[in-house]
Amino acid sequence: MKFFQRSKTSQFYTILLVLFFCLFLLPYSALAEKQGGILKYGIPGNTNTLDPPNARGDADMRICTGNIFESLLTFHYDNKTQKTTLLPVLAKKWEQSPDGKTWTFYLREGVKFHDGTPFNAEAVKYNIDRTLKDKPRTKFSEFRGIIQRVEIVEDYTVKFHCSKVVGHFLHLFGVAVSHIVSPASVEKYGSKVGLHPTGTGPFKFVKWVPGERVELEKYNDYWGKKAYLDGIVYRFVVDANARINMLLTGELDVAENIPLQDFERLKKTGAVDVRTVKTPELFRLFLNARTFPTNDSRVRQAINSAIDRPGIISAIFRGHAEIAKSVVASSSWGYYPASENKYNPDKAKKLLKEAGFVDTNKDGILEKDGKKLSFTILAPQAGHYPMDQELLLAIQQNLREVGIEFTIEFMEMAAWVKRIFLSCEEQDVAFLVGLSSKSHAYYITYPHFHSKFIGGMNHFCYKNDEMDKLLEAASIEVNPEKSYELYKKIQILLAKENLMINLWTMEVATAFSKKVHGLEFNSLPIHDKFKHRGAWIE
């Protein structure tokens, strides 16, 4: 044989070449999407309802949005380009009238709800009208006060008539309330519709065992690319250790919210992969602009400069957090890095001196007019936010170094929520809050810093005519460039005011078996991250 007559080196190279090509083939053959299988998905916490307009919290959202239900459009945040794009889902395209007050949506044809009800303009009108009329009750209605009337133009064309021009209108379709529920199911079940979710998504609802699990199965008549999985079982596993153990034993394929300290251990097992993703939830301190000592903007600025963000992130979060540079999270539309938020204790000391604070009694804490530079921070029950005790102690130490003192008070969750809704005029405390800026800068600016919300969501008692004007202008601006410029100005102004001390965005870790592929890791909380249409199991 000729092959054997060749020199040993050439034989060696031939074999090497063949092996080389095999290497190329291997991953492709292994990575071919496989049909079938049930994805076992562990989530921390219980589902309360599977009715989109009432859904709150991750446990509700991740099952509802994108899996059982779909909205007219969706958002995709690209982690690389850091850009958010709008993608059509149940609407094919949309357009705005010249005066900006009317939006026309052209709907996808041939879509059916899981119960066989056809999806059309009537179904869209029914859903929006439901949230406007609040019957059956919808906890959330971003549409109320914005959409006046829904008009059915044709079977698959629907017009929204708004009372005013709304700059962030399309972003309303990114929140849970915009997900379209089968009108027949709402008629049938009334206020209990959340127990019988019926949407148009790639998975349909099978069963919900309260406190235990929710089961979904593949919807075979799905209008788009059908799911690979036969179904998904969501299991509610509150304890993080239990989630990890169940992942290791194969009782779960995916476990969400894994504590930072378990990353390495899990990766070492070889069977499990861990991915982290940035969330738009920013950790913040809410300061009261009305009462001493945080009524002085120099004190607030000093607090901001005295916090060693990089140090805390590397020591407490092991690098799995990103410094916040604005009130808006970097993955929300309209984000502008208004302040570097550098650690600068000397600047803090200087500012406090300017403001007239001196340490008269040499106890390390500054005073002014006999009053101590001291305040209280209320935090929800310890452990509610990851590493909350550690981070508050670290900040406490940081501030003490420049002569500011605060006491930390952890409260029972419901009591804390009650306090945060008590108006700033009735109390003189600061809060530790994790609050998302959602998909658009509007949500974290307008309702929180407009003076008309003092006593409500303006937790700071902040009144500034310039800010009010900017917020009003931004809220009705439809031109994206102009709108961005306005939000940029707002963020720069807020960075000077330091009412919200923006700390960092946490990364959330998901651990999953290496047999699972095609999971989405997207930064927007209620969108692609939880969609499992593209997921498959080896």
Binding site: V209, V237, D239, N245, M246, T249, V417, V433
Partner: protein, 306 residues
């Protein structure tokens, strides 16, 4: 006897009403309310107020309590504020899980405890006694959330014999039941040992031995029966504890029981679920105590309730 049982059953009503009264007002006194918990952090004051009115939380507490009592008496426990599901539908599957776990732990724990206690008492101050009491000390001192985690690591992560969580199939109950049975067995063993030792000192045991009865006969028909009374009391208390105190085990093993539901409902100020859950627990406690009291009569004919 029958009259006694009927009287005890009738006593249930004031007890239950008292319990609902106390738990209702404690919840109301706690800061925070259901409406703002339901509305979430980015809700407006108006929407919170609207929810409050819809739930009837704007009315005086005493009126709310009256409405609640009226509904309970007509068999309507209301709906969960969180899920809109009927409270009964919400609670019953969880309660059944709790009962299953409590019974499994009892069936496992009490016989073991009794046998250990008897062995230790029969060989007092011997090696057997020391080993048994060492185990008992361990069983009582080790917190169950820790022992539960250790069992999970050994028996499900490394050995893969049992699932580490959930409530599906028979195998899933084994680890949580073993975890809960540990302290229950230890308590029973200690009680059984000390009451047996007490009985052994009695004159009638001396008499029995003196008249030449076999030791096993002495144990069975004289000692054990008398020692069972205090032991039974402890078993009753322990069973009540197994029903109500399983929250930690439920968390470690993701066991969907009633304890965790109540804790979560308290956090969310989901009043109807908390009320119904507390009532159910109280009902079980009273029932267990009644059973224990009735069993006394069969163990000791001197006890009568006439």
């Amino acid at each position: 006897m029958i009259i006694y049982i009927i009287r005890r059953c009738l006593m249930l009503f004031p007890i239950l009403i008292g319990i609902t009264f106390i738990s209702f007002f404690i919840l109301q006194l706690a800061p925070g309310d259901a409406a703002s918990m339901m509305a979430g952090l980015d809700a407006t004051k108006e929407s919170i107020e609207a929810i409050r009115i819809e739930l009837g939380l704007d009315r005086p507490i005493i009126v709310q309590y009256g409405i609640f009592l009226k509904n309970v008496l007509t068999g309507d426990l209301g709906q969960s504020l969180q899920t809109q599901n009927d409270v009964v539908a919400e609670i019953m599957p969880r309660f059944i899980n709790t009962i299953k776990l409590a019974i499994a732990s009892m069936v496992l724990g009490f016989p073991i405890g009794l046998i250990m206690g008897a062995m230790a008492a029969l060989r007092q101050n011997s090696m057997v006694d020391y080993v048994m009491m060492g185990c008992v000390l361990f069983g009582i001192s080790v917190p169950i959330f820790w022992s539960g985690l250790i069992y999970v690591v050994i028996f499900s992560v490394y050995l893969g014999w049992f699932p580490s969580g959930g409530a599906e199939g028979f195998s899933s109950i084994v680890l949580p039941a073993v975890t809960m049975a540990g302290p229950a067995a230890a308590m029973t063993a200690r009680m059984a040992r000390s009451s047996l030792l007490e009985v052994f000192r009695q004159d009638y045991i001396k008499t029995a031995r003196a008249k030449g009865l076999k030791e096993s006969k002495v144990l069975r028909s004289h000692a054990l029966k008398n020692a069972m009374i205090p032991t039974l009391t402890i078993i009753g208390i322990q069973f009540g504890y197994l029903l109500g105190g399983a929250v930690l085990v439920e968390t470690v093993f993701t066991w969907p029981g009633l304890g965790r539901l109540i804790i979560e409902s308290i956090s969310a100020r989901d009043y109807p679920v908390v009320q119904a859950g507390v009532m159910l627990f109280a009902f079980c406690f009273v029932l267990v105590n009644l059973t224990v009291d009735i069993l006394y009569v069969y163990l000791d004919p001197r006890i009568t309730y006439e």
